[in-house]
């Protein structure tokens, strides 16, 4: 079992965390859009 003790706990940190997670998902959707574009018959 992993124990994790993080020193920083603040609302600003939580908000930044959510923004980072949303940014990751945006990159993921962008890659999916590239794949969708690549398979389109031309």
């Amino acid at each position: 079992m992993r124990e994790q003790l993080n020193p920083v706990r603040s609302w600003a940190g939580y908000v930044l965390g959510m923004v980072i997670e949303a940014a990751y998902v945006t990159v993921m959707i962008a890659v999916a859009a590239l794949v969708a574009w690549a398979v389109m018959p031309r």
């Binding site: 992993r2 940190g13 965390g17 990751y24 018959p41």
Partner: protein, 502 residues
């Protein structure tokens, strides 16, 4: 203590914790009661009052009868308490469903409750489009609570005894400590979930207002769709699911929430509390990114041949959306169930089945093999190949990153491979049962992968008219999949020990 006294004490300890969890489930009914009162749905209020009374009688009854039992739980007892809690909770929570008349039988009600608790999303409800708001609140609240875990809920608010806490926490399929104390870990999980509940409901509500919903409807639909997405549950308030909204914006907000919802709570906690690089270093995130891209490539290639999804945007809204919904084990859909069978090619369906089986992250609301295990097995494979091509004297050390760097050991691989094998066996077993009843093999494989991975996408098999035995099989594999099998085997072991003696 003598042997028989020990057995009674163990049963009483298990009964005490189950009683606490059932009490918690009963008290949750106060939320749908409030919504039903708000909308003056008096019949629904009565249905829930009966359900609440039943839950409190069972819950407090068990706690009262077992109050003198020792609070310390052995591993097997903790796991039995967790897994039996889910079954008893299913039976109790189904009462308001059954009384409402929207479900054909008590079995159908229990199926939908288990589907909600396990964040699956398969439904047997009839005339969903005219369901009372109170009942819709209950459906989505169950899936929200089930995602975090009922034991996590009880640990956070109802169980103060620490001695038995960790064992039932693990028994529920979550084995990571975000903080050293298990109660604080449970509370951290709830903190993340409740913050996202507020933020996610707000954005989903804005999307609802944008497409012209009234404020109260936008709020409740926003909250319910958030709950379905965050818990990777897949319930939506209308029978046509997310397709009902006909909105790219609504779909996108939901997609972002369901992907974030499929992350490991340890990852959320790390990213939120300062360890920002974890978002791209974590083995599960990498694994998810790779498998989601590869399986989507299968779906896109499979569908591009048909010419049905003729632009990249349509491919995203129809192909990627179903794929990511399946991979995160959510189960939202923007197409009708039978379109999978009639329009989708075998290659696209194979991509969907693989994605549904792989699933989201460990210690998240998602189901499936989990990215962590897939990543570990892949690393182990690479490790083996390195060993083969290296000189026999070379020492190969492989690491994986999950919150911190961990040296890959045989015990990690053994545990990951074992769970993957168990999932696969359960999937094959369920597929065979469905095939026995005459469903085509590919349809059966799709639907069973959906039930086993707690996804909720349907190809059309799940319906009130499906055979009762298949309903029971799907209930069992949803339950076993959500608890990751070990707790279920603990029940069998416990019963065998009780009969034969240790």
């Amino acid at each position: 203590m003598t042997g028989s006294r020990k057995r009674v004490a163990a049963l009483a300890t298990i009964g005490y914790y189950i009683g606490r969890v059932i009490t918690g489930v009963g008290l949750l009914m106060l939320v749908p009661i409030t919504v039903a009162l708000l909308y003056q749905e008096w019949n629904t209020v009565v249905d829930f009052l009966v359900g609440l009374a039943a839950a409190l009688i069972v819950g407090y009854g068990l706690v009262h009868v077992c109050y003198r039992a020792p609070r310390k739980l052995a591993w097997v007892h903790g796991m039995v308490a967790a897994s039996v809690s889910w079954l008893v909770a299913m039976a109790v929570a189904a009462l308001p469903y059954w009384l409402s008349g929207h479900w054909g039988s008590y079995l159908d009600s229990m199926f939908d409750i288990m589907s909600g608790f396990t964040t699956t999303g398969l439904v047997l409800v009839q005339d969903l489009d005219h369901l009372a708001n109170g009942l819709n609140m209950w459906r989505h609240l169950l899936t929200y609570v089930g995602g975090q875990g009922m034991v996590v809920l009880a640990l956070s608010f109802l169980i103060r005894e620490m001695a038995g806490a960790y064992t039932i926490y693990v028994g529920e399929g979550k084995d990571e400590r975000l903080l050293p104390n298990v109660r604080h870990t449970a509370q951290a999980i709830w903190l993340v979930s409740i913050v996202y509940l507020v933020v996610g409901t707000f954005f989903q509500m804005l999307a609802g207002l944008w497409i012209g919903q009234h404020l109260d409807r936008a709020f409740f639909h926003g909250m319910w769709v958030f709950m379905g997405a965050w818990s990777t549950g897949g319930f939506a308030p209308q029978s046509s699911n997310i397709q009902y909204y006909h909105s790219l914006l609504y779909e996108l907000v939901g997609a972002v929430i369901m992907i974030i919802g499929s992350f490991n709570f340890a990852l959320h906690w790390a990213v939120w509390t300062g360890n920002r690089k974890e978002i791209y270093r974590n083995i599960e995130v990498v694994s998810f990114f790779v498998t989601a891209t590869l399986t989507f490539a299968m779906v896109a290639l499979g569908m591009s041949k048909t010419g049905l999804y003729s632009t990249p945007l349509i491919m995203l809204r129809k192909g990627w959306y179903q794929l990511i919904s399946g991979h995160t084990t959510t189960g939202f859909s923007t197409i009708f169930a039978r379109q999978f069978a009639k329009d989708w090619t075998p290659l696209a369906l194979a991509g969907m089945i693989m994605a549904q089986l792989i699933g989201g992250s460990a210690c998240s609301t998602a189901g499936g093999y989990k990215g962590l295990r897939v990543g570990i097995v892949f690393k182990a494979l690479m490790d083996e190949i390195k060993k083969i091509v290296s000189p026999s004297s070379a020492v190969i050390v492989t690491k994986f990153h999950h919150v911190k760097d961990v040296v890959l050991e045989d015990r990690h691989v053994r545990s990951a491979a074992l769970i993957i094998i168990l999932y696969t066996v359960a999937w094959l077993g369920g597929t065979l049962v469905a095939t026995y009843y005459g469903y085509p093999f590919l349809d059966a494989a799709f639907e069973t992968a959906s039930a086993n991975g707690n996804v909720g996408l349907s190809i059309g098999i799940t319906a009130p008219t499906m055979p009762n035995l298949l309903k029971v099989v799907y209930i069992m594999i949803m339950w076993a999949g959500r608890l990751e099998f070990m707790s279920v085997f603990a029940i069998i072991g416990f019963l065998v020990w009780e009969v034969r003696g240790r």
